[in-house]
Symmetry: C2
DNA sequence: GCAAAAGTGTTACAGGTACACCCATGT
DNA sequence: ACATGGGTGTACCTGTAACACTTTTGC
């Protein structure tokens, strides 16, 4: 195993976490102090990434970075795009940052996104925190673009693959599922119609278990997603939406 | 402009071309002669790719390679994945090939696919030709995997975006459209139902023009796709397939 | 006049949409 | 007893699936 870093290739991670208020992104603080400890030259937020190691698979690299960020090992991840234009880093601060790290300025960033319910991440320091997707701060590098491309890919994929369940706990209520869809597509869904549809899906399996609390007084029935049934019952006829 | 090549980053192009018989892939011959001109050590088929130039955008690189291959400048292209595992090239022949080129063995390949009607490409030498997607030869490197990932991404995307039209001429008949869907999803579609559906889409615009020939005796009505209308009439309510 | 693809209509059923109130429980 | 989210039913309508024959033209 060769642990040296490949100087011109990095992996960047977009972590999407769903909570009651919507979709959030996990960002890290970037700060650079030069003349004065109190007033850093750079003090903003960025996605988390790192250079790929010489003998490391890309997926492993993404997992390593994600683990460093969240302490978690299992979450859905998707490599969705590589950003590598030469003029990608042109902003003065970004150039300064890279120089301070001695990095060659044209870096290919292989970008991944991760999906999970936000509560799974236990934040333990001030340098990492959630930001609401629709209220992001100004980000360093081209990370705003990376996030918007990631979200776009996510929206497309949710139509076609059962990714929505990645945002939920293993056991979830139908209302939680509905809310997840609403946030992902920024739409309102009729609750009665949604439940009918959901209950008719064989791969959304009702459990003999209820959840208390969560603001409600009446306990809600829990369901789970069966990937198994999903794959067995999946057919192509839905397809021709033209 | 710096025309030197980046040694560890390449772009690979998967060119999908549709014709009457289905979906085809454009491949290039790879051959390496060492001891004997008649019996090359390597003589097989691969995707076309090249190293990215030092000051070239990734998209431009893909366009340059595609142009070299087909002589065409305008075709739909999509960057769909980057392949860069260290153990990606392990086959003896592939290692030999790279050595003969003096290339560093861990290369990140940013992979694109292109969509077009096959007839647009005028083939002019023996080293490039179409192969039917479901009857590919044994390919060098990990190119089989790249193609299958590309096709998979394509199938997903066609559900969600109007990519199917990229496979057709600007003016097309409804039967051609139907056949395109049939090949992409490997399904049979009822012609009457399909026509009803298609005619009801406002973005599939009937033209006052007919096409003769093509094996048929009766001329077929031509249609065009209006991206404009598509985008204006697109709504999110189709979405919740769960 | 025949070969070859283009084009057409109806019926039955499934699934979607719109819409407003009662239920179970904790406090 | 009241506040809170959980949960339900119906009528209408739209869209889909299944199905077989006629039309237009070139040869």
């Amino acid at each position: 195993m060769d642990f040296r870093k490949i100087s011109n290739i990095s992996v960047e991670c977009v972590v999407f976490g769903l909570d009651q208020n919507g979709i959030n992104i996990l960002l890290s603080k970037r700060s650079l102090k030069m003349y004065d400890d109190k007033y850093p030259v750079i003090d903003d937020w960025v996605l988390t990434g790192d250079h790929v190691l010489k003998s490391e698979r890309l997926d492993k690299s993404a997992e390593r970075i994600f683990y460093g960020l969240t302490g978690l090992k299992d979450a859905y991840k998707k490599q969705f795009r590589t950003f590598g234009n030469p003029e990608r880093i042109k902003n003065e601060k970004d150039v300064l940052w890279l120089k301070s790290r001695g990095v060659y300025p044209r870096v290919m960033s292989v970008a991944y996104y991760f999906l999970l319910p936000a509560f799974r991440v236990k934040l333990c320091n001030e340098n990492t925190r959630w930001f609401s997707l629709d209220n992001l701060p100004k980000l360093g590098f081209d990370h705003s673009e990376i996030i918007s491309k990631a979200f776009n890919d996510l929206q497309n994929r949710v139509v076609v693959e059962p990714l929505i369940f990645e945002f939920l706990d293993d056991k979830f209520t139908l209302n939680e599922l509905q809310i997840a869809y609403q946030y992902v597509f920024d739409v309102e869904i009729d609750n009665r119609n949604f439940r009918k549809k959901a209950i008719n899906k064989t791969y959304i399996v009702p459990l003999d278990e209820k959840r208390l609390g969560h603001g409600s007084k009446k306990p809600a029935n829990l369901y789970m997603f069966s990937k198994d049934i999903y794959e067995k019952t999946r057919d192509k006829s839905q397809i021709i939406n033209i």
